[in-house]
Symmetry: C2
């Protein structure tokens, strides 16, 4: 998106990215969790965040619901609003990474094109797609928030997986089979990836 306002230029910080890494002892990426409603995105994000803080890293979850309560309170669930939601979150993730913080995002983000846009907002290598690959049947059976039942009853329009599409990632950096593996296994898989890619010291 081209800025609507003219006379604006990027302000370069006096703090170099390397200085932040030296201060914090780790790099900064955005772990972009995608998956169906009820697949376990928020649970896994929260668990990875907790583990990272235990390891002394500064990490923060941008949760779908939290963002919709505040930053994106003006947006609904129509495709255009979903895209704008994802765009804003990508921009916020970029700012957090720039500050040195590891970001975890928990958004259904059902459209491949929106996830691609978010990937493009971030500097190369900083967008890490994490596919929470829990089958629809399992999500619907859990139905933690009772939303699937309401969607099946036609009470919630455009519900991902029921009346709106979910486009699974084709080449996610990390795939978590969260229907078969427990939370601890998934957390360690993510930590292992961060060590392999030198975000965390080995």
């Amino acid at each position: 998106m081209q800025p609507k306002s003219e006379n604006v230029v990027w302000n370069h910080s006096l703090v170099k990215p390397g200085e932040r890494r030296a201060l914090l002892g780790h790099g900064a990426v955005t772990l972009w969790f995608t998956g169906l409603s009820g697949s376990g995105k928020s649970t896994l994000c929260n668990a990875v965040e907790k583990r990272l803080v235990e390891l002394g890293a500064i990490a923060y979850v941008l949760d779908g619901d939290n963002v919709r309560v505040g930053l994106c309170a003006d947006l609904g669930f129509e495709p255009a609003d979903r895209s704008e939601n994802i765009r804003r979150v990508g921009q916020v993730a970029r700012l957090f990474n720039d500050a040195g913080v590891i970001v975890l995002t928990a958004f259904i983000s059902p459209y491949r094109s929106d996830r691609s846009s978010a990937r493009e907002i971030l500097p190369a290598g900083q967008f890490v797609e994490v596919f929470v690959d829990t089958p629809l049947e399992v999500c619907e059976q859990r139905d933690v928030k009772g939303l699937y039942a309401r969607a099946r009853a036609g009470e919630i329009p455009e519900f991902t997986g029921i009346s709106a599409p979910y486009e699974p990632p084709e080449a996610a950096e990390i795939r978590l089979p969260a229907g078969e593996r427990d939370v601890d296994w998934c957390v360690e898989r993510v930590i292992e990836y961060l060590r392999q890619t030198d975000v965390l010291a080995s």
Copy 2:
């Protein structure tokens, strides 16, 4: 603003605010710099950020121009767009503070009502208004970006201080007389405030 989307609730992190403070060694507030174009907001924000990082604190500047290049690229400078810009920045600052990061914002933010809204978005005591009190004559004389000349020539509509109002703060937590004092003096004034209010250890 009430969320437009239903079925959303605040997701509580497994990481307690106290844990972040213990990890980072400091508290998190939003230093909201307000003042005319050319008053020195960005320069002072960058200098305070650098000083904080030298002191081992994690701090980050949300600059007016940077935000308008990305997160708020869809917004212009009409009053409604300015308000929405400030609302989004307030929400992002809240997320950063929640993550444990000290935020410095450099926005003209000319309307008292918008600054009040931003203050209300943040938890009590976390919004610290910093009035960069440089007289209009000094800003116009400097005219670093050549914008005052263009505004006087009528080329930029609704330019704060010339063809749009600037409402100075009535009770800013910090006032920086940046027309009379140098950058180092102003930086130390801010650091002193952060020590007095226990954001930084004394």
